[in-house]
Symmetry: C2
Subunit: 459 residues, 2 copies
């Protein structure tokens, strides 16, 4: 617990109305989008970088944990206060500071909501591609801390590909600026990418310089229905071989399709093994031509039915199926454990079979959807967190699915981060040496283990 | 100096024919493409990762420096043995281990020559974009260690954007594998990007997994001649605003044009302030259309003359001018100090003016060319390294040009690295805090300061 003199000092720094001490308020900051919740000792909502520096220096003096937090939409437990301490809510720092149209750069505070930035830049004919599912709620700061992805990552890359510069408060309370408005820099170690995806364990991000692109002129959406999952996966390879890089290449497996159909009654085929939802974007004529090429490739490679959206209404209808997935699958059971493995693209069919075999063996409800272009699959286990026996089977199945992903040359997490949820499995992928290297970096930069303890590493 | 027992031990590890001890042999490994040369105590040419691990463990025991080296084409002194020690020449490890066409991935040893990899993947309709000027000589390992760029970086990014996985021997001789064949991963800290561009100071790269792209179907090259440099720079912005992202957008200033013309006599206009060389690539029809659009934009924005290459011969002729720059400029004076600043694109005209003012003040010959799309300029000072008085002026001018770049929101190095050449100026950009963070990482991972001492940091 924090001494009351420390709480008073924090109130002096940020103003007492921005410090939450009551049980009710603290409960709200104890969880994210993962099942487990924890209790912070205090919630602080700073407005400036200077306030954050002062709080971090205080933390190093009195040795309490600080847990930086955006909107709390994370799927790996990155922002939950597993060791108590002070949750630092950054949502008051929510200004778009600059949209520099000439250099194609935006400068934002961490609490800016991703979708709001996208709307603002699109008004100017520009484009910020990363599109995590939570984008209407999640903050850019959280996106950077977790290196968020999204469906468009296949063509456009993930958050790390758009961060040009950062202002960071270090774990000892110093102010650090890295990068800037230049798209190229190799000055010393790549601290920008070290902080991006470091899940609040190496620094608190207080300002972000983002690269923007010109907004693509047009886009075209397609849906293809497959009797065979292997054919769907093979189509993805054939599209890319043709030299076409769609913005998105989304896959839904048979159970996902059935869940969505039971939920929306939109006429999806209940006997299909897979659906691909694809979007091509770019110059208008090219997009028209590529949509036709993609449709042909789907048919040639075993699709039973291919639909090209003729207009915005058609497009919405196709995406409605994909967007409904999360809501649809929790109709089966109340708790959703959302995983995030990625494998080399060619291993998708093998990985899907391994996942289904694991789920069958542990008698669990599993749906699989995700970003087929990236090999990034989201196996979701539907369960009931009040059923201890079932949750034990879930835990065992999860350990096996991570092992399977790594065995197939893949990774534990494509875009959600390690957080608390995957920390027990980290060494499956990093090995002892990788773990020790990461740990050595953490120790060198945060000697008092102030920032977000209990994340990434099991301690 | 190394003890003879240590040299004997190294000979046992790699075979005595792969250890060079003579003065003549060691001289050859004392320099790169920067002016200063140093003397290694020994040159070792290992063939396997295991041999490297053994040598690094020996180095930690006997405390001698190890300097990893590819082809020695670096422009910042990254591979020169400033503190003596053992140069580890990695060019025997030169196998392309795999080109995985389904996953668009290549697995290579560090000694593979960049151009040879490009030729191999292009035979299969694939594409490895990074194209440093030295690509016919330089190795992929060196490219990764320095995070090399090249003209195509504007559209395609730099080496870091293509590294999916690495095998690394750590500074203490452990074997570490990070990443793999997946395009997305956020497992723990981003060690891939930490090692990429770390200039051999954090690890020795022994295997590289690279992302490939489908090869663009067509390309079209243009050249535009400008009476005004500002108009040339403004054209770059207008092209991007139009939503066109050329593969390359190269700029040559007035003195560069004159040097090339005096060297090649190809009819370049001696009174022009700037030439832009641009290449668009992609699907054939789109490329045709974009080339015409780019040509129009050049004319609308002040180009006096615009040429679209009609065929391969025309294209070669245009690129001949750009490729001749290095050979042409050393006609003025024998020593070329090649710098590599980058500024926000909109600051190019201001930066060019600052550079010319600095050169005039120190009475130096300066030519400026580079990648205008990225804001990455290569100011080259032509001088004579045997003229001590002139070299003193060069040193002062360089310090000023770095300060100017940072003042304009730029960076010391876009694609060459810090090495020894820019180490004295590192803090201009990183500040004290950034310097300390980088230093702390180096110390945590290389406690005995074995790997490439004297680089990046002034010690």
């Amino acid at each position: 617990m924090l001494q009351s003199s420390v709480i008073e000092e924090i109130k002096r720094i940020v103003g007492k109305e921005h410090v939450y001490t009551s049980l009710e308020e603290r409960i709200c900051y104890g969880y994210d989008s993962t099942p487990e919740a924890f209790f912070p000792d205090l919630v602080v909502r700073p407005a400036t970088t200077e306030e954050i520096q002062k709080i971090v220096k205080l933390a190093n003096h009195h040795l309490f944990p600080i847990i930086p937090r955006g909107a709390g939409t994370g799927l790996s437990g990155g922002s939950v206060p597993v060791k108590g301490g002070v949750v630092l809510d950054l949502t008051r720092m929510n200004k778009i500071l600059e949209i520099d149209e000439e250099n194609l750069v935006a400068v934002v505070e961490p609490g800016v909501i991703t979708y709001e930035l996208q709307q603002e830049v699109e008004k100017r004919g520009l484009f910020y591609p990363p599109d995590p599912a939570s984008l209407k709620t999640s903050t850019i700061g959280g996106n950077v801390a977790e290196c968020a992805g999204g469906p468009r990552a296949f063509k456009y890359g993930v958050t790390r590909d758009y961060v040009l510069g950062l202002e960071v408060v270090t774990p000892t309370g110093e102010l650090l600026k890295v990068g800037g408005k230049t798209v190229k820099s190799v000055t010393g170690y790549d601290l920008i990418r070290l902080y991006t995806g470091s899940e609040g364990t190496l620094g608190i991000i207080t300002k972000i310089i983002l690269r923007l692109l010109p907004k693509p002129e047009a886009k075209k959406t397609l849906m293809a229905v497959y009797p065979s999952l292997d054919d769907a996966a093979h189509t993805v390879t054939m599209i890319i071989k043709k030299g076409i890089i769609p913005a998105t290449l989304e896959l839904m497996d048979d159970l996902t399709i059935r869940c969505v159909e039971n939920y929306l009654h939109m006429g999806l085929p209940l006997d299909a093994e897979a659906i691909l939802i694809m979007e091509v974007d770019g110059p208008a004529e090219l997009v028209e031509k590529q949509a036709v090429q993609v449709a042909e490739l789907c048919r040639e490679n075993g699709a039973r039915e291919v639909k090209i959206a003729a207009d915005e209404k058609d497009r919405d209808e196709i995406w409605r199926a994909r967007r409904a997935v999360s809501a649809a699958v929790v109709q089966i059971k109340p708790t959703k454990i959302s995983e995030d493995i990625a494998v080399p693209r060619s291993q998708i069919p093998k990985m899907v079979r391994r996942l289904k075999e694991i789920a069958a063996r542990y008698d669990l409800n599993l749906v699989i959807f995700g970003h087929a272009g990236d090999g990034n699959l989201h196996p979701n286990i539907l369960c009931d967190q009040n059923d201890a026996e079932e949750m034990e089977r879930v835990r065992k199945a999860i350990a096996e699915l991570f092992k399977a992903a790594v065995e197939l040359g893949g990774t534990l997490t494509g875009e959600h981060g390690i957080g608390t949820m995957k920390a027990p499995y980290l060494k499956y992928e990093t090995g002892d040496v990788g773990y020790q290297v990461m740990k050595a970096i953490k120790k060198a930069l945060d000697p008092n283990n102030i920032l977000n303890p209990g994340k990434i590493f099991l301690e």
